[in-house]
């Protein structure tokens, strides 16, 4: 298989271990529902909270303007404030993460404690950003997504199993399963906690000869 061969050619020794992302394998958790479509990155983290020069604390302002009322108190109607919802899986309506390229959106979702985001459609840049941060985007069919919302609606503690190795997500209460797509390279990175930069640094010679030939 081509994919196996590739990783044989680029073995672990190419990846220095300093900046590894958190490894992802399997998660069994309840989920927090956000049945809204076209959630853009300005909603995930509004621009006024992008002023930090360090990558920390963005979870505090995740969905800031939906999560808090104007007076700064939590909005009890918003899912993240509802004590009946918990877990490391966020389930959102289609076209999640559109708009700005701000990686702060991925950091905010991760920093809040989510490890999986499920939607029936993701915007490109956001999808790339979450993958670079050890957060798994799981794209499912409209039907499967509806089934997840239904299961949570019936029982907020409803459990879901996400297995990266087999690329499956299981809706335990409905006994349904969906096999999701992921780029094999990114899958391997997440399973092993690899970082793209380590890989790119291993290519320095090729990059320099590319520049010379240009």
């Amino acid at each position: 298989m081509g994919f196996t061969l590739t990783f044989f050619l680029y073995p672990l020794s190419f990846f220095n271990q300093i900046n590894m992302i958190e490894k992802f394998n399997k998660i069994v958790s309840s989920a927090v529902p956000l049945p809204i479509e076209n959630v853009d990155t300005d909603q995930i983290i509004p621009a006024r909270f992008l002023k930090a020069v360090e990558r920390k604390g963005f979870g505090d302002n995740l969905f800031r303007d939906w999560r808090y009322k104007k007076d700064g108190t939590p909005n009890p109607d918003f899912a993240l404030n509802n004590p009946k919802y918990s877990g490391t899986i966020l389930v959102a309506g289609k076209n999640f993460g559109s708009g700005s390229s701000r990686e702060h959106a991925a950091w905010a979702v991760y920093d809040f404690g989510f490890r999986v985001v499920v939607s029936s459609f993701f915007a490109d840049i956001f999808k790339g950003n979450v993958l670079n941060n050890g957060l798994l985007p799981v794209q499912v069919s409209e039907d499967f997504l509806t089934g997840m919302f239904e299961a949570i609606d019936k029982n907020p503690a409803a459990s879901f199993e996400v297995d990266l190795q087999s690329q499956t997500i299981r809706n335990v209460s409905l006994s349904t399963e969906y096999k999701f797509d992921i780029n094999p390279y990114k899958k391997e990175c997440l399973l092993k906690g690899y970082d793209d930069i380590d890989y790119l640094l291993s290519l320095k010679k090729e990059i320099i000869s590319f520049e010379t030939a240009k």
């Binding site: 081509g2 994919f3 061969l5 590739t6 680029y10 300093i18 900046n19 049945p35 809204i36 479509e37 076209n38 853009d40 300005d42 909603q43 509004p46 621009a47 006024r48 992008l50 002023k51 930090a52 020069v53 360090e54 990558r55 303007d65 104007k70 309506g93 289609k94 076209n95 559109s98 708009g99 700005s100 390229s101 701000r102 990686e103 702060h104 991925a106 459609f121 915007a123 490109d124 840049i125 790339g128 950003n129 670079n132 941060n133 780029n183 094999p184 390279y185 990114k186 793209d196 930069i197 890989y199 790119l200 640094l201 290519l203 320095k204 090729e206 990059i207 590319f210 520049e211 240009k214």
Partner: protein, 464 residues
């Protein structure tokens, strides 16, 4: 030889390596950076004990956070000041050319790149900003990236990218008077939705596109991200070459001739196949305005908001939520709605042509007394042109004041915020909830539609 697209030609010429079953290692010719999405990338790089690999291929400018008045004074807001100072320090440490606030070429990153001739046909260009798509107007592959990817480019001048699918959007025929490329953009996004281009890179083609100026092409490519596409591009032609010739960083002398010969080959071959293709008639496009909370929710300025009767389930709920935020009702007519703010500027419409259009419309008229207008040039060079062409006098006698360059009210990271519940007709690119300030209600439009709104104080048709 197989017919190939412009996109394929440029992409394939920049692939250093392909990971089987995975992304390509793509070489990046130009990397633009700004104060908001670079600091964490610099600290990540330094944490690995690395220097920026190719600082001479990197260009920096602070734009997102900066005030648009009194730029000679230290930035008052502490966090903004710290971000700008951090960018300056990082650029000094890594020998990266910086066009800082006091530099004569300072401005919004997507305005100054083309203006200085840094952006050229056939290049790969990235920046930690989704509107990097702007640079595609020159026939380059330009797209926005996240901060992890900014760090990748710092470290290796490459990024890992899956090759996107290809889409061509043809606009044929002649645009009516007072219809601009902003209207083309809003029209197309209304047709294909904000996710219609996801997974694709768009080439804009057709006679209506060919007739556009470089400024207008940049507006269109800038907005390509708003249909979900990674970027948009237009094959370079005489308009492109005439714009570039003589600019600071453009090749000179024999080097120009050599580059020109290469650039002339940059086009999609006849018979090349796109994954998706749309064709529109320019004559069907009228001045547009948005009514909702994503750029795909737009109609002709004479039109009415859809009723949403054909929508069901979560589609309908999302539509109604959006209208509720905007304070509009399904089926309402937008023309005649009272507005409070007007913003002319941003990387979408902050170029000299935009201010010429605005000035031409308001000449001899007066701003509506209740309207607050922010007129923000995209760069120092644009500001200077506005002054040299006498547009400031026209604006001032109509009751408008010119501010200083920056991203300003497009994303309201500085003090230029639209208050809660107020309506703004804005030439920027996003009408998301809270984009121009918490609770702000944004209606996207061209500089002409915005000019008409500024003068009348209501949503108006500039053709009337």
């Amino acid at each position: 030889m197989e017919a190939t697209t412009l996109f394929d030609k440029i992409w394939d010429a920049h692939v250093v390596n392909i990971i089987e079953g995975g992304p390509s290692v793509l070489y990046i010719d130009r990397h633009f950076i700004h104060e908001v999405t670079s600091p964490v990338a610099f600290s990540g790089l330094e944490g690995r004990g690395l220097k920026v690999f190719r600082p001479q291929n990197t260009v920096a400018t602070p734009d997102h956070n900066v005030p648009t008045i009194e730029q000679h004074l230290p930035i008052r807001e502490e966090l903004s000041r710290k971000q700008v100072e951090t960018l300056t320090a990082n650029c000094e440490r890594h020998n990266i050319p910086l066009y800082g606030l006091s530099h004569k070429w300072h401005g919004i990153v997507h305005i100054i790149g083309p203006e200085l001739g840094i952006t050229q046909p056939g290049m790969t260009i990235v920046c930690g900003d989704s509107h990097t798509s702007t640079h595609g107007a020159f026939g380059s592959i330009a797209f926005g990236i996240g901060t992890s990817e900014v760090e990748m480019v710092f470290a290796s001048q490459c990024i890992l990218q899956p090759k996107p699918k290809k889409m061509r959007i043809n606009v044929e025929g002649t645009l009516a008077k007072n219809v601009t490329s902003k209207d083309i953009a809003l029209y197309v996004i209304a047709k294909i939705s904000t996710s219609g281009g996801t997974g694709h890179f768009v080439e804009f083609a057709g006679s209506a596109i060919r007739s556009l100026s470089m400024e207008a092409r940049m507006t269109l490519c800038n907005m390509s991200i708003e249909c979900g596409a990674r970027g948009g591009m237009i094959a370079p032609d005489e308009t492109t070459f005439a714009y570039l010739k003589g600019r600071e960083e453009a090749p000179k002398g024999a080097a120009w001739d050599q580059k020109l010969a290469e650039w002339k080959k940059l086009k999609t071959d006849d018979g090349a196949v796109f994954d998706t293709e749309y064709t529109y008639d320019a004559a069907d496009i009228s001045p547009m305005i948005t009514y909702g909370t994503n750029p795909g929710m737009g109609v002709g300025v004479q039109g009415s908001i859809p009723t949403g009767d054909d929508l069901t389930g979560s589609d309908r709920a999302t539509f109604l939520k959006s209208l509720e935020y905007m304070g509009f009702k399904p089926g309402e007519i937008l023309k005649g709605k009272k507005i409070d703010y007007v913003f002319i500027g941003s990387c979408t419409n902050g170029r000299i042509e935009d201010f010429r259009l605005f000035a031409e419309y308001i000449k001899g008229k007066k701003k509506a007394s209740w309207v607050t207008a922010w007129i923000v040039p995209g760069s120092k060079q644009v500001e200077q042109q506005i002054r040299e062409e006498g547009l400031v006098e026209i604006m001032e006698s109509a009751g408008f004041a010119l501010r200083q360059p920056g991203c300003s009210a497009c994303l309201a990271m500085n003090d230029d915020k639209v208050p809660e519940g107020k309506y703004a007709v804005s030439t920027s690119n996003r009408n998301f909830e809270g984009r121009q300030g918490p609770g702000a209600r944004t209606m996207l439009a061209s500089p002409l539609v915005a000019a008409a709104a500024a003068v009348s104080g209501f949503v108006s048709d500039p053709r009337e």
